[in-house]
Point group: D2
Chain length 133, copies 4
């Protein structure tokens, strides 16, 4: 039976939320944070796997994140680059992020992904499960 929650001193701030809602809230924070911290960051295209891994680990350190996978689409950065400016910066089109957050009994899997049809980096919830019951 899983019960990962805020420390006692912080619980009073979250009385309005069920575990499920709390996990959804944290998943939203996570995606907003990743987008706004990373857009604009330079990328060395041939070292992109290493950067994805390090950033995924860095953001997974925030509370209640059990998995964070940040992928950066090199093709969507590379477009239109000119020598010797053969590098790029992370843009909204290039980010594909999956986070799994657990709070109390709830587990939420959320996603940040550029949706061509919308012309927009959408943040949404892919799955919510309640565990241990």
């Amino acid at each position: 039976m899983h019960s990962r929650r805020h420390i006692k001193e912080a619980l009073k701030y979250f009385e309005k939320l069920t575990d499920r809602e709390h996990a959804i809230f944290e998943a939203g924070i996570s995606l907003g944070a990743i987008f706004h911290q990373l857009v604009g960051m330079p990328v060395k295209l041939e070292k992109i796997r290493e950067l994805e891994s390090a950033l995924s680990n860095a953001f997974s350190s925030q509370p209640f994140r059990v998995r964070t996978e940040i992928r950066i689409n090199a093709e969507r950065i590379r477009r239109g680059l000119t020598e010797p400016y053969d590098y790029g910066v992370i843009n909204p089109e290039s980010l594909d992020v999956e986070v799994v957050v657990e709070y109390g009994y709830a587990r939420v899997k959320a996603r940040l992904k550029w949706i061509d049809e919308l012309g927009y980096p959408l943040m949404y919830v892919e799955e919510v499960t309640i565990r241990g019951i």
Copy 2:
């Protein structure tokens, strides 16, 4: 009766969520975004009101935000500054943010605030209301 929702093409990404959960998710995104975009930004201390107002307007442009109030505590930036470095950058201690998000029938008021007791910039939900019913 209020009904502010994603466009038709995007609705399929949100089938897992009730309006209430959706508004909670968006409030989380909003606070994560504001924190990670703004920390590190320089502040001219005597023009802080103008900066708060412009940033509040900028972030309120994201979908479903009906109010965004970003306050920057000059005192918590000013500490320990030396001439001629008489300016500061926004740090986690200095931000106090209130967002109100509406999605469908739900309205969520959320907060980002440094809590001295926790030594942490806490993001939490202050109020959830369901409208129009």
Copy 3:
């Protein structure tokens, strides 16, 4: 006669540089800072003048900046936006920044601007003048 310099305790870190070089170095810092702090920031298109003014003031608070003008090109943000996502985030294409830095006897005017021919947000020095002599 103008003589704006670092405080005594900091001067030892800058012995390698003439005033002219020092001002050029600070101008570079300024443009790098502005680009990487601002890319990704949401913009309310109808309040863009207010945001430009507040950000210009904020960044002009860094030492030795005598003028900072940040312009955001709404047209280059607006492209391809869909309702209700009728807002945008600052991208490299949309920034046009002019900074004037003075250090000691030197004055440098530098620019950050998207150059279509290069497909790149170029940072360069427009003018260097030595004053008071």
Copy 4:
């Protein structure tokens, strides 16, 4: 004999600068960029070496950088952290960055480092050399 310069189409923007000045300008850009992109980024303290390495590679992709070493001082992040918030974000105190930039015949080594005496993250030039002559 080394001669790394902008492409022909961009050279007109840099007529005001000697190679030495140009390298100093680029070093300034580099440090301003690193500071403002990274402050606020979460850090998993036990994976800090991996993050330093990935970020150093990412920023070294910008033109004319021949070495970029980003170090993050875990001790200066860890202070005052409370369980379960056992992670931190990069703050101005924790960054120690060394960049080496080469433009044309000039080579510049610059540094970003928190100086306790100043209470300030100072950016300065440690060394300028002219090569190949």
